[in-house]
Subunit: 216 residues, 2 copies
């Protein structure tokens, strides 16, 4: 294996191990020693890639930001809905996503960076909403940034409640409920019955393989 390839592989091993540890323990209780043990690498290899625990957490958040959705749906708002279901399934299956969300929700010494995931999610949702706006799907007078914030905030709370009450098992059903309540305040009434408020069958059925971190 070429040196560069080995470097990418170790970086990915560190990020995956760190995601698991952050997801399970939260930022403040996570130790680089445990991240090291789970990654199976040497301390030298860890510090070669990341000078600190904070640097690892920042790298994890930047991975989260790489998820940008492109849509070929004729009804553009469907892409907003599908994005939330994809995120819901991601939270059920992917420690990387769960770690990002935990870093964003909890009040830890990492708090200076905690707003990054909300900004990233808000930007993705806003870009999808702007396509819906262009097609005249939204109600008149909707402020895109405000609507994107509302969708991101609502999803945040829904997923916190679902985690607390069912370990995120009922998250997809809660996302469906969320849309039944939100749609009348967002899209033209005539559009509502043309939107699918269930997960895309292509993403709902097979357990998605754990997402491999991409080296920067």
């Amino acid at each position: 294996m070429a040196q560069q390839e080995r470097g990418i592989k170790s970086r990915n091993l560190i990020l995956r191990a760190a995601a698991e540890v952050f997801d399970e323990r939260g930022y403040d209780s996570a130790s680089t020693t445990e991240i090291l043990e789970r990654s199976g690498l040497t301390r030298g290899a860890l510090y070669h890639h990341f000078p600190s625990k904070e640097a690892i957490a920042i790298a994890l958040l930047s991975l989260h930001g790489e998820t940008v959705a492109a849509t070929t749906e004729p009804v553009k708002f469907q892409a907003v809905i599908d994005h939330t279901f994809l995120f819901a399934f991601g939270l059920q299956r992917d420690p990387l996503l769960r770690a990002c969300v935990r870093l964003a929700v909890e009040q830890t010494s990492f708090r200076a960076h905690a707003s990054t995931p909300y900004e990233q999610s808000g930007a993705v949702v806003q870009s999808l909403l702007s396509q819906a706006l262009e097609q005249g799907e939204l109600l008149p007078g909707i402020d895109l940034a405000e609507a994107a914030d509302m969708i991101t905030g609502t999803f945040t709370g829904i997923q916190v409640m679902s985690r607390v009450q069912t370990g995120r098992e009922d998250l997809p059903e809660r996302v469906c409920t969320m849309w039944r309540f939100l749609l009348p305040g967002l899209v033209h009434p005539g559009l509502i019955c043309r939107l699918r408020l269930t997960p895309d069958p292509a993403i709902a059925e097979p357990p998605v393989p754990a997402r491999e971190p991409v080296a920067s």
Copy 2:
């Protein structure tokens, strides 16, 4: 001071000190030693009232549950809206409420009890919604438990984002935005222009004095 009165006073001192410590450090990092120092009491007095840190946290959550709203508003849904603004101002000003919310949102060793505040808030909202339903204010087909969960969940996420991004300074404005997006999916269209989506002036202006814990 009679012995019973002194007992109530010490219990309240412990709860207020504990709320501050839980609010600032989270459950796992809070120590009974720090709670003790802030309360100004002896360790004996602390253990007389509460056998453990967990017992203190459970007592705090039960205080939160005592907040039940009664309404004389002619439009009953206004009471639901006012309740969320009251909660928003409470979070800005009252360490007791902030501690309860932090205990409910974060993944700590206290997690077995974390669903209590959601159930309590959900029950208050649902009881207010049922009065609105009786007066025919809600859209047909609304499931009260689902609507109460949606309002509680949305508020949860909105307040997390507001805390992360502005230290909860913009929470009242965010609550206003939340209602502008939620109302069309909840109440009859003709009612919307009769609802006040700003805080009741009586609660918004003067800083409310810190709420005194009530002894059980």
